[in-house]
């Protein structure tokens, strides 16, 4: 940890895509479908999923990331972490201009991190918690000063997670109700032109983009179509060219993949890493018993759910941390709940826990709440219901709308078991800790530790991993952590969803980052 840790990045922008600018065909309009329509275009105050799909094209981040989650230069040409991990120095590009023509400087970085993200961004509040100041010795150097090391920051500087804002625009007036919340101004490859609510957002090529020759596309239109069948029809007919992150139902994605003009890719969720879970209320009997929780985790047929509900777009989860973290060394598997004799094991665990089968063959019953995110969640609930019937547990399903469900699960804790959909995000500190850390048991705060389980050992492991700057050492801490969590199983980690992205073959290079449809599409071009 005291080792000097330097990571200088290559200067040449051309090295980025590795593609010569002249070889690609310029021009054309790409039509993207995003579902649902974003509530606003203010990624600095909301991380609502559809917002980033639009704004990641308009703003730039300090860094970009490869599929191995390793940083690449963007607005920052290079960065250097001090030996104690308490200072990160970014060297900024000198040729970057915002869409209004004003230059991008370290002042903008300071404003974005300290005033916008650290105070208002739902995740930025946590990511930048330990940043005490951003120093600006000159217009092209920004130094993050930290109260303790925070390796998570270097994973959270993409244009999606931490968009760099022009201070001269967003620094004027109240940022929470800013006039530009719906007409964003950034430095990205596309500039905002028009948003017709209920229809589309139109973005045109930024002719002064700092990567010369890019973007190739003249225009990007993001359309909003509320009905799933119509979205599929629009893609099939070629009226729209790209849709991802659940915008196309899984069975339709499978059907569309058979068409000659369409391809379906499962790349582009490496930095999102969504996991389907069953969360237990560990303060409520019988789910206060780890054996019962493990038994249920064994009983759920993950492969069946993947094939029949998610139509093959997923793989069994091996623990609290997604296997997408394998390349960066942070992944480790916990107890294997997919073993062949899992049903026998589940039965045995329930016998041991003191829930023998009664005369009618059942052991106990409970109400299973379903994540209100659409039809596949109802199907998944039915699978859980059937799987648990096999081990003598009777399940009744309950489906409510989102506000009601959030209140029931995260405010009133008035549930027994609920399905849930949490993202690991670019780093476990952001997406994983919140689910099981004791300091995240907060009534009224959604998508945190709703099982209310925690242990001093796992808390300590997470606290250590959060400040450990050496990836290998972090990986060891997380391996131990994953094992401990799977022994307690406050949550049954069911499967990792690989969202299908449906793409027209007319366009190439659309999904070329681990952020997928949250990428900036600068290198996307016509065939």
């Amino acid at each position: 940890m005291n080792r000097r840790f330097v990571l200088a990045l290559t200067l040449a922008a051309a090295a980025l895509g590795g593609l010569p600018a002249m070889a690609q065909k310029s021009g054309g309009t790409l039509v993207q479908i995003t579902q649902p329509e974003p509530p606003n275009l203010a990624p600095y105050i909301s991380t609502s999923a559809p917002i980033g799909q639009v704004t990641a094209k308009i703003f730039d981040g300090l860094l970009e990331y490869g599929f191995d989650l390793k940083p690449k230069p963007a607005l920052a040409e290079s960065f250097e972490v001090s030996s104690d991990g308490l200072a990160i120095t970014f060297k900024l590009r000198k040729d970057v201009k915002f869409h209004d023509g004003k230059p991008f400087t370290s002042e903008d970085v300071q404003f974005t991190v300290m005033e916008a993200l650290k105070k208002n961004h739902p995740r930025g509040i946590a990511t930048f918690r330990d940043v005490t100041a951003v120093d600006t010795p000159d217009p092209h150097t920004a130094i993050f000063r930290l109260s303790k090391p925070a390796p998570v920051i270097l994973k959270a500087l993409s244009s999606y997670e931490s968009p760099m804002l022009p201070k001269h625009i967003y620094g004027q007036g109240d940022i929470k109700t800013h006039a530009n919340a719906n007409s964003p101004i950034g430095s990205g490859p596309f500039r905002f032109v028009e948003w017709r609510r209920g229809e589309f957002v139109r973005l045109d090529k930024n002719p002064n983009y700092w990567r010369s020759g890019l973007p190739y596309l003249d225009r990007l239109v993001v359309r909003f179509i509320a009905d799933a069948s119509t979205r599929t029809a629009a893609l099939e007919k070629g009226e729209a060219h790209v849709a991802g992150l659940g915008a196309v139902p899984y069975n339709d994605a499978k059907k569309l993949a058979l068409r000659p003009n369409i391809e379906v890719s499962t790349k582009g969720t490496e930095m999102i890493s969504p996991i389907v879970e069953l969360m237990f209320n560990t303060k409520l009997a019988p789910f206060d018993n780890a054996k019962v929780r493990q038994a249920i985790s064994y009983a759920v047929d993950r492969q069946f759910a993947i094939e029949n509900v998610w139509f093959g777009f997923g793989k069994p989860a091996m623990g609290i941390i997604s296997s997408n973290f394998q390349p960066s060394g942070l992944f480790a598997a916990g107890i294997d709940f997919t073993v062949a004799d899992r049903v026998e094991r589940a039965n045995k665990l329930l016998d041991e826990a003191g829930f023998p089968r009664k005369a009618d063959g059942t052991r106990f019953e409970f109400v299973h709440d379903i994540t209100p995110y659409g039809e596949e969640w109802q199907r998944f609930g039915e699978i859980v219901q059937q799987n648990l019937a096999q081990i003598g547990v009777k399940v009744t399903l309950r489906y409510e709308d989102l506000p009601k469900w959030l209140k029931r699960v995260y405010t009133d804790y008035d549930f027994a078991v609920t399905s849930n959909f949490l993202f690991n995000l670019p780093d476990p500190v952001l997406g994983v800790h919140r689910g099981v850390h004791s300091d995240r048991i907060r009534p009224g705060t959604v998508f945190v530790n709703g099982s209310r389980w925690s242990s001093p050992e796992t808390d300590a492991l997470m606290d250590k991993a959060a400040v450990e700057t050496n990836e290998a050492a972090r990986g060891k801490l997380y391996a131990e952590f994953v094992q401990k969590v799977s022994e307690a199983s406050p949550v049954a980690y069911i499967l990792e969803v690989r969202f299908p992205t449906v793409l027209s073959k007319q366009f190439k290079n659309v999904i070329d980052t681990p952020l997928g449809i949250y990428g900036n599409f600068a290198t996307a071009h016509r065939e």
């Binding site: 739902p122 359309r223 069948s229």
Partner: protein, 327 residues
């Protein structure tokens, strides 16, 4: 003299609607308080989780930390100067959001009214003239089938047939977002996009009006005044067009007025299928987001629309049937 009394009648009717609309707003405001969960939780939920401080901060900003009666009082006070508030979820004033959706809504409603009333009346008229022939049976059976078919299914089938298979019309949206036509090209483009949603939404009402028109025509034809007219030696054709048709229209027009409210509701489905940017979809989204400022604004605007349409219907009566006096 007559136009003067008509003017004062309209003015009086408009005055009478003010308490109606205020009542609608108050009732809706209180009803919405009963729904569990609030905008702050939804915003935090959409964000994939947020600290408690963030949620409390949101609630204070939305004024939700105040007692309900104060919130209601504030809302009503602002409403009197047509300030419909701010949609925190959409980061825009409610009035702007509503006005942006108003013209697509009126376009769809208007074209649907014209098509469903026009064709419905025509089909009802023909069915009545051909009563108890095979043509009448075809029209009546077709009307029943259309009336009983769910809107969303009709919409999806039309997309499948006319967009995907025949490739005549666009699947969805209001205009071509690759071309962005201008001038007359744009008018034609929007008209092409309007066809399928209008047909879908019209079919249901068309069937309703056709059946009503047919029944109404048959009833009028049996009345004494028709016998009188025939005794006077008027031709069948003249009796039908001059007398029976005009009188038979009255119930259909009444029904059309009553159905406007329903038209707004039915358009939620059609707007969703065809991605038509109208008020219905906005209402649907804001309900699930608990965006009450916006939702109340939509209720307010719908109430105003319904009142205006019904007033128009009452005025049309006068022209259709000189016996009806206003004032």
């Amino acid at each position: 003299m007559k136009s003067g009394s008509l003017g004062s009648y309209i003015a009086r009717r408009l005055l009478q609607t003010i308490p109606v609309i205020l009542g609608v707003v108050v009732v809706n405001f209180l009803l919405l308080q009963l729904a569990p969960g609030d905008l702050a939780t939804v915003l935090a939920g959409e964000a994939g989780g947020a600290p408690k401080e963030y949620i409390d901060q949101l609630r204070a900003r939305f004024g939700q930390d105040q007692p309900v009666y104060i919130q209601l009082f504030n809302y009503m006070r602002n409403l009197l100067v047509l300030d419909l508030g701010y949609s925190f979820r959409q980061s825009a004033p409610v009035l702007d959001l509503l006005l942006a959706r108003l013209w697509p809504t009126l376009l769809l409603m208007g074209s649907t009214l014209v098509v469903s009333l026009g064709l419905g009346i025509l089909m009802g008229l023909l069915a009545a003239l051909w009563v108890r022939t095979w043509k009448d049976h075809v029209i009546s059976v077709a009307a029943i089938i259309v009336y009983a078919t769910p809107l969303f299914w009709v919409g999806l089938m039309l997309v499948l047939v006319f967009s995907i298979w025949l490739d005549w019309l666009p699947t969805s949206g209001m205009e071509n977002v690759v071309a962005f036509h201008e001038g007359w090209d744009r008018v034609v483009d929007i008209a092409r996009h309007l066809v399928l949603p209008t047909v879908t939404l019209s079919l249901f009402y068309l069937a309703l009006y056709a059946r009503l028109m047919r029944a109404s025509m048959l009833e009028q034809r049996g009345l004494d005044y028709v016998t009188t007219a025939r005794a006077k030696g008027q031709s069948d054709r003249k009796i039908t067009t001059r007398h029976v048709f005009r009188n038979a229209l009255l119930p259909v027009v009444t029904m059309a007025g009553v159905q406007t409210g329903g038209l707004l509701g039915g358009s939620v489905v059609v707007e969703a299928i065809f991605a038509w940017p109208g008020l219905g979809q906005l209402a649907f989204q804001s309900l699930f987001a608990r965006d009450y400022n916006l939702l109340l604004g939509i209720f307010f605007m719908s109430a105003v629309l319904v009142v205006i349409v019904n007033l128009t219907v009452d005025v049309i009566y006068v022209f259709l049937d000189p016996r009806i006096r206003i004032g």
